[in-house]
């Protein structure tokens, strides 16, 4: 086609020049005739070129100059290319605009950061939540504008598995949950969510539990007091002795639950980790052993193995209640003749306390949920042993407040091991042993 057109044009030029030469021949100047024809042809070509150039500069794809021959072919091709480009451009632009519009409409804040944590782009919600200014804040470091110390720590440590919770800046009553997701070549996607409402609800829930338990405690004390007096009444109808004893047991259990609830809400109400006071682990474990032996109704072999002279830095009351809960649990779920081992050791990772029993064990599917409040492996089990259902929740919270963790391993029918891991900075090794 194009080649055909080109050949036609070339043939036409050759024919025109030949005609010029032929016309010039009778006058004796064939060259002048040829040159005249060439000049006309050149003028025509230049006009075509000029038209093409004008059209290309005008940026109007539809205004292509109408012409035939090879020029028409070239111009037609260019026009087609132009139209295709225009079409793709428009489609891309539309897509981009859609994309922009949809990301801008995301109810969460989105900020894109480069590896130097400079802002590349952010949507409207991010601007509102973090007080960013459109356009002028592009290229600034995010940590210069979001200056909360927790955020800067989060950014520096670059451990983005969990989101970080930020208080609103300048004393505003606002809570933001920020999560950073790395993508591409070191780029970071930062998601910001306003969680003020959830935080308020959570605070209300905690307040409610704390207040309700507090309010329940006083009437319960009165009931327990009268029950005690009644049970010692000499002229009491003997048929009432059983029910009264049961009522006393149940009121004692209720008191225990309320005490645990209060302990939990106290643990929750103070944020951050506890300051350290030195706790001697060995005497505490020895004491716990004696208490457990005295309390359990059946014969148990409780051993204490102290494999480290290290002392613990933490809140003594809290640590004691955590350890006591673990030992109590072990004693409750280990049948007569079983063995409980309390082992304290340390290594590079920190200090560890393991409470190992040869009791009835826990099925694997229950283990992740054990530290939930009032979670029961089976309905009969906890009630029969008189537990409050809050013990392990307390242990978990105490460990969190000490920067540590609770690890549970168990085999049904073989026994369980509850291990408290304390970080190395919570240990204090006495000078004589070091």
């Amino acid at each position: 086609m194009s080649a055909g057109n080109w050949w036609a044009t070339a043939a036409w030029v050759a024919f025109a020049v030949a005609c010029g030469l032929l016309v010039g021949l009778p006058f004796g100047h064939p060259a002048v005739g040829g040159a005249a024809v060439l000049a006309v042809l050149l003028a025509w070509e230049l006009r075509q070129l000029w038209g093409l150039q004008k059209w290309l500069h005008s940026d109007v794809p539809d205004g292509a100059p109408e012409t035939g021959g090879a020029w028409g072919d070239v111009i037609g091709r260019i026009a087609r290319l132009q139209r295709r480009k225009q079409y793709h451009k428009r489609r891309l632009l539309r897509l981009l605009r859609e994309l922009r519009r949809s990301t801008a409409a995301i109810p969460d804040g989105v900020v894109l950061l480069n590896p130097q944590v400079e802002i590349l782009w952010f949507n409207r919600m991010a601007a509102r939540l973090l007080n960013l200014r459109p356009r002028t804040d592009i290229g600034l470091r995010i940590e210069n504008l979001v200056r909360q110390p927790e955020f800067i720590r989060y950014l520096r440590h670059a451990e983005f598995a969990l989101p970080v919770m930020l208080r609103g800046a300048a004393g505003a009553e606002q809570y933001l949950q920020v999560q950073i997701v790395p993508y591409g070549a070191g780029q970071l996607l930062m998601l910001v969510r306003d969680v003020t409402r959830q935080e308020r609800l959570e605070a209300m829930r905690k307040d409610f539990v704390a207040n309700a338990s507090h309010e329940l405690r006083s009437p319960l004390t009165v009931i327990a007091g009268y029950l005690e007096t009644l049970s010692q009444e000499p002229g009491l109808d003997p048929t009432l002795a059983g029910p009264i004893a049961e009522m006393r047991r149940q009121s004692a259990r209720m008191t225990a639950i309320i005490e645990d609830l209060l302990a939990l809400s106290r643990l929750e109400s103070v944020s951050g980790t506890v300051e350290g006071e030195i706790i001697e682990v060995a005497p505490m474990l020895e004491q716990l052993r004696r208490d457990a032996l005295a309390r359990s109704g059946h014969a148990l072999d409780i051993r204490v193995q102290i494999q480290s002279p290290a002392r613990l830095l933490g809140d003594e009351t809290q640590v004691h209640s955590a350890f006591a809960n673990l030992v109590d649990n072990a004693a409750k779920y280990t049948p007569a003749g079983g063995t409980i081992t309390l082992r304290w050791w340390d290594d590079d990772a920190g200090g560890h306390l393991a409470v190992e029993d040869t009791g009835i064990g826990i099925a694997t599917e229950h283990i992740p949920r054990l530290t939930e409040r009032f979670y029961r492996v089976d309905a009969g089990r906890s009630r029969a042993t008189g537990g409050s259902g809050l013990g392990l929740a307390i242990v978990k919270h105490v460990m969190q407040r000490h920067g540590g963790s609770l690890e549970i391993t168990s085999q049904e029918g073989r026994g369980s091991t509850f291990t408290c891991h304390f970080p190395a900075e919570r240990l204090s090794v006495p000078a004589s042993a070091a």
Partner: protein, 241 residues
């Protein structure tokens, strides 16, 4: 314009040094914002433990000041910056001094808060102090924003809000005097509240100083001891053509 020049420098390493110092100053600012809001919360909620922990955190602010100061000296010695960069380093050295003082005032507020927590709180729960505290918090926040964005306009408006702080301070002072005259048993608490308010007023002054350094950094103009209106006129006049 000039603001953009401060952000880009021909030597990449030098530029990184300056950026790092700026980020450190702003991190220090972020810590101070948290100290201030913690100190105010300790006072308003009567939380003596929070007050104690805020007061014991002041060493962090001091540590940051020392480290930034060292870094600035190092930049001055090894890079011998000129023009805008020099202004930036000089302004930074001054800024951290004022920020450190704001930190000291926060410590004072926190200590008084932990003492006041043991006493009965007034019926209005320090409404006026809370209000003034909020103004001071916003002022510190905007000051640091102006520093981060090299925004002279924001620096001027923020510096101007120091007047609101002063007016609030005056009005709380009068209120405290009335309380003291009405009931002499209130004198002790009123005096403590006066100290808190005084600290907040000082925080406003320090924030205003930092705003002035920001203007100096951006426009190369020392505007201390000049009325804000004149400064504004001059800067607007320069930016307008």
């Amino acid at each position: 314009m000039e603001a953009a020049d401060l952000l880009h420098h021909t030597s990449r390493r030098f530029n990184e040094d300056l950026e790092r110092v700026r980020s450190k100053v702003l991190a220090m600012g972020g810590l101070i914002e948290e100290q201030l809001s913690g100190a105010l919360n300790a006072l308003i909620d009567g939380d003596s433990r929070l007050g104690q922990s805020i007061a014991s955190n002041d060493y962090k602010v001091n540590g940051m000041e020392v480290s930034i100061d060292e870094e600035c000296s190092r930049i001055l010695a090894t890079r011998s910056p000129a023009a805008g960069d020099l202004r930036m380093v000089v302004a930074t050295i001054k800024t951290i001094t004022d920020l450190e003082r704001i930190g000291d005032e926060c410590e004072k507020i926190a200590l008084i808060a932990s003492r006041l927590a043991n006493e009965q709180r007034p019926a209005d729960r320090y409404r006026e102090v809370k209000n003034l505290g909020r103004i001071a918090q916003v002022m510190v926040h905007n000051t640091l924003d102006a520093f981060a964005r090299l925004d002279a306009e924001l620096a001027i408006t923020t510096a101007r809000s120091d007047r609101t702080v002063d007016e609030e301070y005056e009005s709380i002072q009068r209120q405290c005097i009335t309380f003291m005259m009405e009931d002499p048993r209130m004198i002790r608490r009123a005096l403590d509240v006066m100290w808190v308010v005084r600290s907040l007023e000082r925080i406003g002054d320090h924030a205003k100083n930092v705003c002035e350094y920001v203007i100096y950094m951006v426009h190369g103009k020392d505007i201390r001891h000049t009325s804000l209106e004149r400064v504004e006129q001059e800067i607007r006049g320069r930016a307008a053509p």
